[in-house]
């Protein structure tokens, strides 16, 4: 902190500035893009949350009358689709966007304009999906979209066209972001930052980005085949035409299971950043935590058919996928013990980021254990497609991803906005989230074991499902309150939050070596990286050791630094193209032309600078 005390503070992006919107539309600053990702994803999270509350309100009593089956099926499909594609992945991409260049001591992402394109494609893809509600034709075949239910015969409306096209569109955004992360982390690390000195969050983003590059193409391909079946009369998934409905499931879960780790690894990375700082100790077993991340990444592409234990695969195949799924629990267990080891012997400050990070560990143990249970094939024959699985996946995705994300918000928002969040409100948010989660989802284990299937718009009385459902609904509303408390805390902090200073947590990674919020070019200079905790070295040992330079320069990104509106033009062209595919191919041609024009503008060589 002493290193940067003399820097001028930079005002955060505010909309009151003239031309703020115009600047935003052409920004290529990873921090503005990261914040845009996080904010947009959070708004989608609120929408997905409203959908969740509609579901829980419908199910609070047997034979509920709030939603008819057609409405219910749209709501639960959009809940899943939103939480995975419009909240989970983009919010983590947003944190990665904001934090990774700062944590590795870079000026920006490797490809700032591609980064902007990723955001615009995400925003427009999300709006595209939600536009379906305006036509009363939201996707209704489940977020997993199993054929033939989602094929032309059984879903003749345009509902599932919105879904398939929207998923292809969003996939472009994700892969663009992922490639950018990989190149950035490979190429732009500060001098001295060897792989085993990278912050663990950077490790998890690297593995996540690789998984995105592997996992998204099968999904985009499958969605394309589905759209061909739906619109052009092909028979990829039609058993009567020689196709195979199980082909869809294999392709979808080839995406879908790595996806689970895409959603959890960066949250694990946040926890691995936060627990040490608030325990005042380094992570216990850095190498084990980093390599277990890589191990999880590798194994995660071999487990997909554990979603398909009931489809009648050969028993040998089921045995293989049970084994790979059980094996992935080992590196996960290693992480949990390393986190506990990090806290052990430390001096623990129970501040909100720590509470959420420790809450993550506590909840993830439950989600992990129920995950091992459903990996045991015969038990899964009973539990699959029941509320037991709903309980399991929400312990992982709320207990894991959402707790991790909330930990990340409480930890990094001061860096992003320059202002602290209120700690009492943060603690209240934590307890509401913790109680709400357990009240909402623990009883679902019970209703599942009492035989309640998932994805039912109603259920009859007399099967013992009433009480667990009632408690689940109560818990869901408490979760809703928790999110309201969080939103209030953030808004309040923007106006009256305490100034954060550069390094409010006395932390050790490079993002705390610059002002809050950081200047557009991130760093004037950096301390040399001699360990995984460069600021610890700087603060605790005074000046860096003699053999290292006193200060080093951050790495430059590969693109020109001037703002560009071309990424937005390309994304708009794609949006036009996909929207047109719903109605008229002629306009799709116009959208395609707009993309081409955008790409030409994008790649047009800049005029040489005078004197260059």
């Amino acid at each position: 902190m002493a290193a940067t005390a003399e820097l001028p503070t930079v005002k955060p992006l505010t909309l009151s500035r003239p031309r703020a919107i115009v600047d935003w539309l052409s920004t290529i600053d990873h921090k503005v893009i990261g914040l845009s990702y996080v904010t947009t994803a959070f708004i989608f999270f609120l929408l997905g949350g409203i959908e969740a509350l509609l579901i829980r309100t419908q199910l609070v009593v047997p034979d509920g009358q709030l939603l008819d089956p057609r409405a219910y099926n749209q709501v639960f499909t959009m809940h899943g689709t939103t939480m995975v594609f419009l909240f989970g992945m983009p919010v983590l991409t947003g944190f990665g966007n904001y934090a990774v260049p700062l944590q590795i001591g870079a000026r920006d992402m490797a490809f700032p304009r591609l980064n902007a394109f990723g955001y615009w494609a995400f925003l427009l893809g999300g709006l595209f999906l939600y536009a379906s509600f305006l036509l009363g034709a939201a996707p209704n075949g489940g977020w997993f979209a199993y054929v033939p239910l989602t094929g032309p015969t059984y879903s003749p409306g345009i509902n599932m066209d919105f879904w398939a096209l929207g998923i292809i569109f969003l996939g472009m955004s994700t892969v663009a972001a992922a490639i950018n992360f990989v190149v950035t982390i490979m190429a732009l690390r500060a001098q001295g930052m060897t792989p085993f000195r990278m912050p663990l969050f950077v490790w998890t983003i690297l593995v996540t980005a690789c998984l995105m590059i592997i996992a998204i193409p099968p999904l985009s391909g499958a969605a394309t085949l589905l759209e061909l079946d739906r619109r052009f009369g092909t028979h990829f998934f039609d058993a009567q035409g020689g196709g195979d409905p199980l082909l869809w499931q294999h392709l979808f879960w080839n995406f879908g299971h790595p996806e689970v780790y895409i959603l959890i690894l960066p949250a694990m990375g946040m926890v691995s950043e936060i627990l040490p700082v608030f325990s005042r100790k380094p992570i216990f077993g850095y190498a084990a935590v980093a390599t277990s991340t890589v191990a999880i990444g590798f194994i995660s592409v071999t487990v997909w058919a554990h979603h398909m234990f009931a489809v009648g695969l050969p028993l040998v195949a089921q045995g293989f996928f049970a084994t790979s799924t059980v094996v992935i629990a080992v590196p996960t267990a290693v992480k949990i013990f390393n986190w506990i080891g990090t806290i052990w012997g430390g001096k623990v400050l129970l501040r909100p980021p720590f509470l959420f990070a420790a809450g993550f560990v506590a909840q993830f143990i439950i989600g992990g254990l129920s995950g091992v249970m459903v990996a045991t094939v015969p038990f899964d024959w009973q539990a699959e497609d029941t509320y037991f699985v709903v309980a399991h996946l929400h312990y992982v995705l709320i207990g894991g991803t959402v707790f991790g994300t909330l930990a990340g918000f409480h930890y990094w928002l001061p860096k992003m906005t320059g202002r602290m969040l209120d700690e009492r409100l943060g603690t209240l948010t934590f307890w509401l989230t913790f109680v709400g989660l357990n009240l909402a989802f623990f009883p679902m284990h019970i209703s599942g074991l009492l035989g309640m299937p998932r994805r039912v718009y109603t259920y009859p009385p007399g099967l013992g499902w009433e009480l667990p459902n009632f408690i689940s609904t109560l818990g869901a509303y408490i979760l809703g309150l928790a999110i309201l408390a969080f939103v209030y805390n953030v808004v309040r902090s923007l106006y009256v939050g305490e100034p954060a200073g550069d390094d409010p947590w006395d932390a050790w990674t490079l993002e705390w070596a610059t002002s809050s919020p950081p200047p557009p070019h991130n760093f004037h200079r950096l301390p040399p990286v001699l360990s995984a905790r460069p600021l610890w070295d700087l603060k605790r040992r005074g000046r860096p050791r003699g053999e290292a330079p006193d200060w080093i320069e951050p790495a430059e990104s590969g693109d020109p630094v001037c703002p560009s509106h071309w990424p937005l033009v390309v994304a708009l062209g794609l949006a036009l193209l996909f929207a047109a595919l719903l109605v008229s191919p002629v306009w799709a041609f116009a959208g395609g032309l707009m993309c081409v024009a955008g790409i030409v503008g994008w790649t047009w060589p800049a005029a040489p600078e005078p004197g260059a």
Partner: protein, 314 residues
């Protein structure tokens, strides 16, 4: 409807496995959560004036906490694989063609067709089996993917168009066991239940024999009128009633030859009583919106005639 209240050998094996994994999970849960909670409470501070000892790791300890979960999981996997073959094995052995102990279950949006090929009968949403007798079940679908699941007897098996999957059912005690479609299959996925009725062998044989009989021509004039209505308003385009050798009708909906004997209507949606039957025929779209059964806007006389007919089909 709980898999933890098994009534047959397959579900019992799975329940045993379930208790093993729940036991292991409970131990792991208590140990790990206690360690976490203890660490947080034991080492918490209101303020930190000096830094704690900086510990970067401990290789032997980390080796131990890698090996111990691996061992526990290996044991669990062994249990899993053993139970798997015990539970699924019998389904893989194909029965003799047309054997009396083999049945076919066909998933439709949103009801279950049940065929006994040996006896050449077709019924709906109700499977009858003899206690103690393993029954081979072939499942297939005419439309989308469903999943056949009777938790007290057996784990689920997906019902996939273009494929025939196999499972087996056996009940060790008489009873009525509820099952429900477990794969999302459209608007009325929630209302696609079925019952498995396990009876002692002699009662089962009597039931099977009764089902093989054609419907008895009605003697009551109102029911006779019902036969006319059944054809005139269009029921016959989707439903069959077998009258002796002449029984004709559609096969899109359940065979109604013995509908009066069934316990439920509309795939487990309603108990089968004259009142619910009237409500169902009068307005199926109110009870099960999206189902193939249309609102026929019957007048009172036609409705009463149909009811008299259907109630008599025992």
């Amino acid at each position: 409807m709980s898999p933890l209240l098994p009534a047959g050998p397959a579900a019992a094996r799975i329940a045993d496995l379930t208790y093993v994994i729940f036991g292991l999970a409970a131990v792991v849960f208590i140990v790990v959560e206690s360690l976490l909670l203890f660490a947080v409470l034991r080492f918490r501070r209101a303020q930190v004036s000096s830094e704690p000892k900086q510990i970067y790791g401990n290789a032997p300890l980390e080796a131990v906490w890698t090996a111990v979960p691996a061992l526990i999981l290996a044991v669990l996997l062994a249990f899993t694989l053993r139970t798997m073959s015990a539970v699924a094995g019998p389904a893989r052995a194909a029965p003799a063609q047309g054997a009396a102990d083999a049945i076919q279950v066909i998933g439709h949006q949103w009801w279950w067709e049940v065929r006994y090929p040996g006896a050449q009968i077709s019924t709906a949403n109700e499977i009858h089996i003899a206690v103690g007798q393993p029954v081979h079940v072939d499942v297939s679908s005419t439309d989308v993917i469903h999943s056949f699941w009777v938790p007290q007897l057996q784990g689920k098996i997906d019902v996939i168009p273009g494929r025939i999957n196999a499972t087996w059912l056996q009940a060790d005690r008489p009873g009525v066991y509820r099952g429900q479609c477990a794969e999302f299959c459209g608007d009325q996925h929630a209302r696609m239940a079925l019952l498995v009725v396990a009876d002692p062998a002699d009662q089962f044989s009597a039931w099977l024999e009764a089902q093989q009989q054609p419907a008895a021509p009605p003697t009551d004039p109102q029911a006779q009128q019902g036969v006319q209505v059944f054809a005139r308003v269009g029921c016959i385009t989707c439903h069959t009633i077998r009258w002796g050798s002449t029984g004709a009708g559609g096969t899109r909906g359940p065979d109604l030859t013995h509908v009066g004997n069934r316990r439920t209507l509309a795939a487990g949606t309603l108990p089968n009583t004259p009142g619910t039957m009237a409500g169902w025929i009068a307005n199926p779209q109110a009870l099960k919106p999206g189902s193939d059964m249309p609102n026929l806007n019957l007048n009172g006389d036609d409705l009463q005639a149909l009811l008299a007919l259907l109630e008599g089909l025992r």
